[in-house]
Symmetry: C2
């Protein structure tokens, strides 16, 4: 009789879920709330990586130090089967980088080389700027028309909660350098792909199309791009002196770090949760992606310490070499792709709060999805209708049919910091970081124990 | 009879002020509102200086280009008696600047030399950091105790509307280097005197006490200082490699640019309105102080174009070499200190809105102060009770007894940008810039025509 007077939501929460194995909703809610209010581990890991290691450029000794740090930390936390899994990869490193407008005005500009940029001569090069309002405008330029020129591509990027502005503006970095090289440009500078107004340019990889000879490719900070746009508007030809001297070091060692919370039922498959250990070299990689490693590790550690062995093994993948071409993801898939992965999820979009959960699950897991949605609601997380894809470091797995859950983070300020010198520890909001750990803890508590069958989906073609 | 039905405020506005000469409150309000809604000149000047000149470090060829630009622009606007008044001054210029923690962790840091810093060897120097929580803690260190060390001084600066945080935190830059040198330090780095969280350190002049041999002195960006504080908290000795290679160029030419709106009554004295033309070298000096020159010039131009010749001459002083030691102010005072200056005012605190007006006026001008306060109120400007002091470029005049009015600007975000690479045009809010012009136009309209006697105050001792 008493239950008749409970509010409906509480009644629902009190009903045993069909798929629930060991833990009640109340138990999970208690774990969630403890993480939300008390977690310190995610911040400790973020602080440790950024303070004791700093930048962790893939293939460099700094990334190797980060792997050693990670393995020691994961062992110290009591995870099982901690392993460093090395692989080799072509390694690009930054050199000198300066830019200055030399005519008709004389002004220094802040520039940074894009990943996989070629080098200018050591003394730089001077050329007239040919400006384009978009990648499409550059694409429309005739082949050969940029001979002896520096191409410049500007664009407009809006801040969005879901990060969709990146898909819109990203081609300026991903594609414009190759298009400029095809049209004969001696170099290219782009407006940074970012939403801030600071003199800190955004690096990030560019892609050279098959057969294209790479050229020097840099990003100007947004205020510098504004300044250049202002100069161009005055109508006189504008020339730039540009020096970018990155170089290739050949094949170097990188590696993944893995660790596990062993499950009780090997036949139930592995839940793989991923972050990436490497960072770009301009900052300490706090939001990209030390915090992601902090979040997944703190959540898994809460399961480890709960005293209840999960049904499924939870495997942490601190991937190497994500930024420069997801070499770690490929190496992991080569080594482990034949193991039964039930589910993949990844944290690689900063440290601000989770606002939405999306799923891509077998039908038998729909009650678990309902249950998780219910447990996440008090964190301000709504259920989305997008198909979950996990992230870059698990993309080969998901491409082969592994199911996925996305705990989507608020990206409103992410592209202020992304790939800039400003990606530093002070940008982490401890309260939002803890909310992430709470959401991930709940997700693991539900899905590590789910009774559903996670046999892989039909692989994507 | 009709006026009986007017609201009280409007009645007051309609009453002729005792001190008013030519213009009614309604006329002034109309000028104010036209500036508020329609001014473009202040922004054009700010944009021109930042786009066509950029950084304008005192004593350099860039500052000389800025003077030529200013004279041409002021002549083009129709001002009278436009003149470049050169003087010579010792000139310091920045060199290479890099910093890296080398032990026990390895991380690059963003550093910039403070003005008048000495140089390290070209290859830099490496030394252990000795950290201090404040200037006072450094002062308490025994003489000789820092031999062979790099002193590091951190502090905490809050953002304030009135800029008072600068007075609180500024001694870290102004005084700590000299104190460190006296105690034997081989170099010093400080936390930037600024309120932002970007990897852009704040430069600015330091002061070497008499008899102190200067040492290399730099500022770390706030995120780098946070990182260093984090390392120090881990308890192991921290060593830094520091390279700062600024140098002195000896005496170089700098100069002031002056221009006038001639008054009808030479006996009434000059209203001098000032800004500074030079900037630090890290940015284009948009808020410090291109916008100040834009504001005073746009306001004076509105008087010039009003068709009513003011009683007093309005003299614009675009001062040179403010940042590096107010050489322009001193040169102006040497050349013009014996002329009758009735009143001084200066715009050198960014481009955000005026929120308060303060006065230091003879008793006979109290009705004018009341009148201006009334005319400023619709701009959201309240009357303060501080004694106006004008600014650095008019400080010798005010020190000799010239009266002053301060149109105080909102400094809440000023020290995010002050002396950093981020002081660029995109930081200017056009609406707030126009509000400044409106306030200045009203001030000039009232005080250029005031009937009061502005014979100088008793000079300060």
């Amino acid at each position: 009789m008493k239950t008749l007077f409970l509010p409906l939501a509480l009644c629902a929460a009190a009903l045993p879920s069909i798929a629930a194995a060991q833990m009640s909703d109340a138990d999970i809610a208690a774990m969630r709330d403890d993480a939300r209010h008390n977690d310190t581990l995610a911040h400790e890991i973020t602080e440790g990586l950024t303070t004791e290691i700093g930048q962790r450029m893939a293939g460099t000794e700094a990334e190797a130090r980060a792997r050693a740090w990670a393995a020691q930390r994961l062992n110290g936390l009591g995870f099982a089967n901690v392993a460093v899994e090395p692989y080799r990869m072509p390694t690009w490193v930054r050199g000198a980088e300066t830019a200055a407008i030399v005519s008709p005005y004389r002004q220094a500009m802040h520039v940074t080389a894009l990943g996989r940029s070629a080098a200018t001569p050591a003394s730089g090069l001077t050329a007239e700027i040919v400006g384009f309002a978009s990648v499409e405008a550059l694409r429309a330029a005739p082949m050969g028309s940029l001979a002896g020129k520096i191409a410049y591509v500007t664009h407009h990027m809006e801040r969005t909660q879901d990060g969709s502005g990146y898909g819109f503006a990203g081609p300026t970095r991903w594609n414009a350098p190759s298009l400029a090289a095809q049209r004969g440009a001696t170099a290219i500078v782009i407006r940074s792909v970012g939403t801030d107004s600071h003199r800190n340019p955004h690096t990030g990889g560019t892609t050279w199309e098959e057969g294209v000879e790479p050229i020097a490719a840099g990003a100007l900070s947004n205020p510098d791009a504004d300044n250049l746009d202002g100069m161009r508007a005055l109508g006189r030809p504008v020339s730039m002196h540009l020096t970018l001297t990155p170089r290739w070091l050949g094949e170097q060692e990188s590696g993944n770090v893995i660790a596990e919370v062993p499950g009780s039922d090997p036949a139930a498959g592995i839940i793989i949760i991923a972050c990436h250990l490497d960072s770009w070299d301009l900052a300490t990689g706090a939001i990209d992606d030390a915090s992601g490693c902090g979040i997944i590790t703190a959540a898994a550690h809460r399961i480890l310490e709960s005293g209840e062995q999960p049904r499924r093994t939870i495997r942490l993948l601190w991937a190497g070499a994500e930024e420069v071409g997801i070499y770690g993801a490929r190496a992991y898939f080569e080594a482990h792709g034949d193991e039964f992965h039930a589910l993949a999820s990844e944290s690689d979009f900063g440290a601000d709060r989770v606002w939405k959960v999306d799923f891509n699950l077998p039908e038998g897991a729909s009650a678990d999805a309902d249950r998780l949605s219910r447990v996440l609601a008090p964190l301000g997380i709504s259920r989305g209708t997008d198909t979950a894809t996990s992230g870059a470091d698990t993309s080969p797995l998901v491409g082969s049919g592994v199911w996925a859950i996305d705990l989507k983070q608020d990206g409103t300020r992410y592209f202020d910091l992304h790939h800039t010198p400003d990606d530093t520890l002070d940008k982490i909001d401890p309260a939002q970081l803890r909310q992430n750990v709470a959401a991930w803890t709940a997700m693991l508590a539900v899905f590590a124990n789910s009774a559903a069958n996670f046999a892989p989906n039909s692989p994507n073609p």
